[in-house]
């Protein structure tokens, strides 16, 4: 045990001296590992950020929610023509559903329409507008920057009131002060009664609450569309996640009752939930992840080849030194260890440098993705550096270890 420790210490000593003696060479060699480790850390950080962003998006959707819709959002197994021929969900059905459903925390109807929003000379063309009722806010996780959502009275009497998403508010009122101002939607006047906090989830696209305006659902049918224009969606929020399945079962049975479906008929509606979205997201992200790690692995591989190359050169250069060491009693495993150690130290230095660069770059990435370098990424970087060092040092070190002392001593 003593031997091993002394040899290890000597190896450390030798490595640092060799590295100091060949500074430029070591730096250039290390560059491959630096780039490799930087990309590993950045990649894992970015992927984690992507996951978080998607999860935020899903969370904004509400993890305790189910959505009853004519359309299935994620399931492609039902032929689309069958889905298209389904009866639209309408407000009457919603009212029946609301009456019969006992388990949900809240239910609300939603319908989407694209309209032009205006305030003075500022215009938002073809902006997504959600028509819903006063219970909507209870079926989401939205928070208000200012103001409030519409009341039951405003909702049921279809008043011209609007709640704006943060981006919409910013576009129409760049200097703020949007609350209680009047905007027009397709030429109709609406009073702004609330402005939402920024949600910041970029994955929802047009459905991102930031880009949305909310008006009472009755107003949509009063001004913009006939009531049969489009199927509405029922947002159903369970009391908690544990109740989600039961709530879903209840919803299905109520819907079948409303639709008068006999036991031999398939559902002519779809129950959508976050799970479906998650599956979709996971499929997408796993493709990105595989591609990302493949590219990263490639850069590490190139770095490892660089290290291997330089270690071979180093063994060649130090043939005589190896001969001396063997002559005075260094065993094979000692020489092997020495060179493995040296390549590991080089890689580890590269790893730390790469890590430092990655931390700096992740601060830039942080502008787009909600993330920072995590402890596991740091550990990953260090482990990868050491493994790369050992793997790329193995062949050169073995060459050194099996050198014949007589030949090595004679080497000029």
């Amino acid at each position: 045990m003593g031997h091993f420790f002394f040899e290890l210490k000597e190896s450390l000593f030798i490595s640092f001296r060799a590295i100091r003696a060949n500074k430029i060479r070591t730096i250039l060699t290390t560059l491959g590992i630096v780039i490799g480790v930087t990309s590993v850390v950045l990649m894992s950080t970015a992927l984690k950020g992507m996951d978080i962003a998607f999860q935020d998006g899903v969370a904004a959707l509400g993890s305790d929610n189910i959505y009853i819709d004519k359309w299935s959002w994620f399931d492609n197994t039902i032929p689309w023509w069958e889905v298209r021929n389904r009866k639209n969900l309408d407000l009457d059905e919603f009212k029946k559903f609301e009456e019969l459903a006992k388990l949900p925390l809240a239910v609300s109807p939603t319908v989407w329409t694209n309209q032009t929003l205006k305030h003075k000379d500022r215009t938002l063309n073809f902006n997504m507008v959600t028509g819903t009722n006063h219970n909507y806010i209870q079926t989401t996780n939205l928070n208000f920057a200012e103001g409030r959502f519409f009341t039951q009275l405003e909702s049921e009497s279809s008043r011209n009131v609007v709640v704006l998403g943060s981006s919409v508010a910013e576009s129409l009122f760049p200097r703020g002060g949007g609350l209680n101002q009047v905007i027009t939607i397709k030429g109709r006047k609406f009073r702004v009664i609330g402005i939402l906090e920024q949600q910041g989830s970029f994955i929802m696209g047009n459905f991102n609450p930031d880009n949305m305006a909310y008006i009472p659902i009755g107003v949509v049918f009063k001004y913009f569309h006939r009531s049969d224009f489009r199927s509405i969606t029922f947002n159903v929020r369970a009391q908690n996640n544990a109740m989600l399945e039961e709530t879903k079962e209840e919803a299905i049975s109520i819907m079948r009752k409303i639709r008068g479906l006999t036991y031999d008929k398939e559902n002519d509606f779809s129950i959508n939930q976050q799970e479906g979205l998650l599956n979709n997201i996971n499929q997408t992200t796993s493709v990105i992840k595989i591609a990302g790690y493949f590219i990263t692995g490639l850069s590490l591989f190139v770095g490892a080849i660089g290290i291997m190359n330089i270690m071979f050169v180093s063994v060649k250069e130090r043939t005589r030194e190896i001969g001396i060491r063997k002559a005075i009693g260094a065993k094979r495993r000692t020489v092997l260890g020495q060179f493995l150690f040296e390549s590991s130290v080089i890689c580890l230095l590269g790893g730390f440098l790469g890590l430092a660069i990655a931390v700096l770059l992740s601060m830039v990435v942080n502008q787009f993705l909600p993330t920072s370098v995590q402890v596991d990424a740091v550990i990953l970087a260090i482990v990868i550096s050491i493994i790369t060092g050992i793997v790329s040092g193995l062949a050169p070190a073995y060459t050194a270890a099996k050198l014949d002392p007589v030949d090595a001593l004679r080497y000029e």
Binding site: G2, H3, F6, E7, E10, R17, A21, R320, E321, G323, I324, R325, K326, A327, I328, G329, A330, K331, R332, R333, T334, D404, P405, V406, L409
Partner: protein, 240 residues
């Protein structure tokens, strides 16, 4: 008491399709505290013999018995251990590690022997003082003269208290005065009870030893006592 006993040793190299008999048939006994010189022209096989004696190489045929251990059948690691514990090498070209100071160079065999740091430093320092380099322990080889470098090498050879000192042309790269100083050092070491094997092609250097073995074409040509040993008279001086 025999330290080394070799019987009918041969070393055959395969060069292309040809077999080269570097050593044909050599038998030799070396006693404790002998001062032996091995002489021979280049190509005679004396380097091969030295490599085998130094456990750097193993014979193709024959028996090599080192203090009762059969070296001819040892593995690489066992040979490394023998070299580390039992043999001190002094080379013509010094063979010091250029980037290490004198102390670390002398310490090196002790590291491989697993001696703890404190004891190692102490013994290396002592060995350097014994060869007259007490004031040069932190100098690197390129800051030392040829004679001083060779003395570091001698200190390195002695530090493990080996059974034999194997010196391969130790004065070959030195001027005659410095060479003489090194030979004086060997003389002192011999007087302290060490066994020295000197490999040289210079008659004058060989005359420092008590016994000369001449090799030619892979055979021992002669093995005789030196009637009038040359005892160096110069005093070892600290070089400044």
């Amino acid at each position: 008491m025999n330290i080394i006993n070799i019987e009918h040793i041969a070393k055959i190299y395969q060069v292309g399709s040809e077999e080269v008999h570097a050593l044909a048939d050599v038998s030799l006994k070396i006693d404790k505290n002998e001062y032996l010189a091995i002489m021979g022209p280049s190509g005679s096989g004396k380097s091969t013999l030295m490599n085998i004696l130094g456990c750097l190489d193993t014979p193709t045929k024959g028996l090599y018995d080192f203090k009762g251990q059969n070296v001819s059948e040892m593995s690489d690691n066992e040979l490394a251990k023998i070299r580390n514990r039992e043999i001190g090498f002094v080379f013509q070209t010094f063979n010091l590690l250029p980037r290490s100071d004198a102390l670390h160079n002398v310490e090196l065999p002790l590291i491989y022997a697993g001696v703890p740091s404190y004891e190692r430093k102490e013994r290396a320092r002592e060995a350097l003082i014994n060869v007259g380099l007490g004031d040069r322990i932190h100098h690197k080889p390129n800051e030392l003269s040829g004679g001083q470098r060779q003395r570091v090498a001698v200190a390195r050879a002695l530090v493990t208290q080996p059974s034999i000192i194997l010196a391969d042309e130790p004065t070959g790269n030195l001027d005659s005065k410095t060479g003489e100083e090194i030979m004086l050092l060997f003389n002192e070491i011999h007087k302290q009870g060490n066994t020295i094997i000197l490999v040289t092609h210079e008659e004058y250097i060989a005359k420092h030893a008590a016994r000369i073995i001449r090799i030619r074409d892979g055979f021992i040509e002669s093995d005789e006592r030196v009637p009038e040993r040359y005892i160096p008279q110069l005093k070892v001086q600290e070089e400044n």
